[in-house]
Amino acid sequence: MTDKNDLFDKIAASRAALPEDTFEKGKAAEEGGCGVTGFIASLPVGGRHIFEPSVQMHNRGNGKGGGIAAVGMVAEDLGVSPDILDNDYMLQVALLDPKAAGRVEKKCIEPYLEIHQASKVPTVDDYRDIKGLEVKPPDVNRYFVRVKEDALSRFITENRLGGLDRRAAEDEFIYQNSYRLNHKFYASLGEKQAFVLSHGRNLMILKIVGYAELVAKYYLLDNFRAHGWIAHQRYPTKGRVWHPGGAHPFIGLNEALVHNGDFANYHAITEYLREFNISPQFLTDTEVSVLLFDLWSRGFGYPLEYIIEAIAPTTEHDFDRLPVARQAIYRRIQQSHLHASPDGPWFFIIARNNAARKEFQLIGITDTAMLRPQVFAIQNGEAQIGLICSEKQAIDATLQSLAREDSRFGPIADRYWNARGGSSSDGGAFIFTVKDGTDGAKTLTCTNKFGEPVGAESKRVEPAAIKSSSGKAAEVKIKEALANPEAIALKEFCRKNIAGWDYAALRHFCAGLADEASGNDTIRATAVNVLTYINDIRLPLGNKKRSLVLQTVRESLAGIFAAIPEISKKSTGTYKRIDWATRNDLRAPEGNEKILVINAREFPPEGDDCDARLIVAAYQFGWKQFIAYGYRGQRFCGSGLGAGSDGVRIDVYDASGDYLASGIDGLEIYVHANAQDQVGQIMKRGKLAIYGDVGQTFMYGAKGGEVYIMGNAAGRPLINAVGRPRVVINGSCLDYLAESFMAGDPLNGGGFVIVNGVTFDDDGNITEQELPYPGSNLFSLASGGAIYLRDPHRKTSDEQLNGGEFAPLSEKDWQLILPYLEENERLFGIKISDLLTVNGLKKDYQEVYRKVQVAKLEVLTASTARPSPKYYAGVYPDGEDADE
């Protein structure tokens, strides 16, 4: 150990000789905003697949900075040998002044580095040919290099690094050399000429002033293959950006980091880094983040778990839940590094080449307060892929883009989840690792912070089984099944039979329904109803993978919707369809017309022309029932109808966006997929059912409404909710549920939240989650309302409450929540009898549910801010001056 510390001291000492940048310290640009996306696959895929998800997150950037990174590239795409790609450093220098190239080479490259290949990164001929590019991206020179033997030996001798592995010394040399280059040609100059984009092994970064996807266009990366890609849309608030030096990703050595958020302690972190002779040159949060990562990883040699702990410390209740041995280590880590832990909202995605272990990694780390949105996803199969994004629709866009070209990918992930930084169960950080498998091909695994594997659906699917038919399809008789067009009967038929079908039978059934639906509104309604049922409810699916079933079902649904006559065409049915092209044909419903089907696909996600405004306009024309599909993150669905929108119903399919149902006052919305962030903000009345998970800050400041969530809620649900919201969450929440809840007396018209803490197994049965409520803060500072928590094993403790108190469930409480559980059963098929069954035994409701109610808090009942608390405790007799 001493040796290692000693060596690190020497490395740090060697950096003292680096020139220090003398410009004004402090952040150059305030920036919080960003959209980040990344994926890593077991196969190398073209750069064009980062295009769609980046486009989807335009509204998270402002086109003034975009960047992408690739890890695990293909040698032939770069025109080098695999040996060079694996072992050489891939030094990419952005030339803000193209004339500087010669000087850069002469000063910083040729004297020290042996160049095995040098080239200019190819670009389109004229940047103005690319729509949206206003600033010419820099020319980039790429050098595959090793440090010259004599230069390295001299470096080792001069800095007494003899004990260091020669490769590690070479890494350090490359790092310091880039620092000097940046100092000379970027940071110290009034006129910035060149800087290093990346210098890692088999790792590449490119960035521009513009949207991220334009990087791929400009540098001709459409067919350029890599296992891992990350992209970043930047939202710098400083205008007039003329060069992309401040854009993400930033490099450590073999890692590229993108970041969404903003640190409050930027200065403290730079001070910390300065202790180790590291000084930032680009003055953004992101740069210091990756410098920290590099310090802890390459400098201190921490394993990834410890690095993550240093970045996102485990605290409070989570810390208490850790094993003692881990607590001891974590305490040390926190003592040493807590002041350098990024404070404030942040979310990192890191692409890393762990060259020593021949692994490519994609790492997502969330902050402990869950202040930034993030979604993780994984898909297993013939090709495997792990994805991390700011928004779910970006994940779907990536998968759709891949699936269009390569049937080994599917458009729907096997699993989507949100993370909670510093959590004791998974650490809130996930690592997708691609490495050589047993049969020569690469395989992808996902692990959490603690190195435990994170599974997707356990069913392994043979590719052949998806395509082949076992002849079961013939047994599924559509016409007979539709003999009774009642949806209920057909649903029952599906529930009973679907497990036995093979993929071909399922496709046959769905396609058959779609065919029959096209001419007949009754059958259309049934078909939509039944397919939606298969989409929504966790049916036992036999040996079929759910994501593949969903793919078939959703394609069929989209087919049915697409076959509905356009609003501009004459027809007599009850359905009408409208899309971006026909939006101006919107009119009042005529004749039998009842249901307006909106294809949201081409609509902008916000603004005067967004689909949410179209719904408002249609509502004002008299439409009351809507089916909206084709979503890819379009926002505000259901908002803007105003008070008294009772009787309106919207069914939402696909990847709906933020602020769905925010402000609704009367209408009903059914979301047949996961919902995103800020759902139901200030919701007043009406009904919302989500057949999936819901994102961050769900129902913030809500006043009422009846809401059912089939899955989990992410962080901060129901903060500052008042009035009478009545909510059932069948999964759990990450943290801060119902902080400052003020929803009156639940037994007397007020609001409450039921948390069931269950999930589904592969066969659609409910199972208990490890903890019904994992967070450290439940019902904090609440002054009204209640939480009804399904916690049969009494795993939730007083320490998690911060103000509330546990109370037994009274008969009145049970009678209050029972109708909501019944509706929950009707909507999601989650039976009350199953909820009341614990370890196979039927229990009484008091044994299963616990009530968290309001405890009288002094801080809330205080009548004036000034007198001491003793005043309220009656210490001062009447008449005595309490102000003293």
Binding site: G239, D262, D658, D665, Q681, V722, E739, G744, G784, T861
Partner: protein, 513 residues
Amino acid sequence: MTEKTVLPEVKVTPSRYRNPIGKYVVRRSAQCISCGKCAELCPYGVHLRYEGYSQPVRPLDYKCVGPKCQANDFYCVKNCPQQALSVAVNPIIETLGDYRWPAEMILGHWYMAETGELPYIDLEYSLGYSGGGFDKMRFRIPDPKDYLDIPDEEIDTSICLNKRQDGRPERVLSLPCYSGGMSFGSTALPVLVARARAAGKLDTLTCTGEGGYPDAFVPYKDNIITQVATGLFGVREETIQRAPVVEFKYAQGAKPGLGGHLLGDKVTAEVAKIRETVVGSSLFSPFPFHSVYSVEDHKKHLDWIKEINPRALVSVKVSTPTDCDMVAVGSYYAGTNIIHFDGKYGGTGAAPDISKKNIAMPIEYAIPKVHRFLLNEGVRDELCFMASGGIRNAVDVAKAIALGADGAVIGTAELVALECIRCGNCESGRGCARSIATTDPELGCEIGEEWAEQRLVNMYTAWRKQWCEILRRYGMRSIRELVGRSDLLVHLDYLDEEERQEYQPTPKKKLVL
């Protein structure tokens, strides 16, 4: 501007109290024989005598110009045959007010609110004793040649709230001011309604604050900003849809990093009902918007409100952090129409002492910083930039504009017009000595809507006279010409001794606090 400005009618609206506080006290001893001489002589109406009464009524001494009247022939003390009269400085003014709002500024505003005129009494109503900021700034002595001799009606004091040309209305206010958010819960309902009515008369705006939208506001909805603050109390789609402007309150200068906090005492049944909370339980607003932790969230947040109300302008109210310039540009890109910076001197008596005046940047630093940054970014012309936080009077407003703001948001001065004495007990339920900051139904109804409305109209009318005079001196026809003319300001600390002599010195006063 050739159009003549039509001003609302001024009606004299005296104090609610029988014995208003004045700078001077006039005492009448028992020697008085009720001869009526003083009433006859005093041109200010201090002495009133009604026929048929044996004694004159108590002197209206707040109208008295004080001992310096002795130079006049009509000086009552000298002329009283019984020597029954005496005039002296009112000892109360030693205890009234504070360094920023000294007694004379309060009295001056009471006078303006009563009469719509600028006081003739020697009251220093434009400067305080704070020893810095606006109190040390002066308008540069103008060149007499620049003087533009036109009447007030031909001077334009209007500002435009939407300069973006984003298809939303280009709302113009007749004054470079609108009034700041005060919640139902913090302040008595008649006061709030009167503010809205006055805003209607004056063709400007007032703001709901974060306490919901009382039904009593609905008739005045065109002049009411709906505030969306971090607690989201009482914010519903319909309250957003009826508002001409929606204000996002991210922070208050008086307490950056803290949300609103309404103590339990003020949460009466009515307040709890409109906010849909629990009676008697304190209401905390979180310090951030939980849905907004970064600038792209901020944009999304604005987009949401714009989706709900396609006609509304959007205002973003923030405190003044050191990087306020970045905040302004970020908000510009997020699509705001109005950027509103609230400096540290502002705010209520209800803000905690530790944060008040101690955290945010003074507004007079923030304004030029933001103004110049926006200019350099080339977007200054597209934003309406409002400043608040310690902008107490008409001259402060003009100074703020000269520093670079388009206008100012006014809170405290309006309450002073309603006879607030700045005692700072705003947070307690029945603590307000003047029945303004209370939700108690008994105390609250002490103020009449009409009375309060007229007082506000009067005060702003008087302010307009001051603005017009400043503009005339620099040969300007519109207050928009004053924006960013910091060259017209001097700071006493940065003048050489000789030059400093030419300007009114900083008032110095030891106050009994």
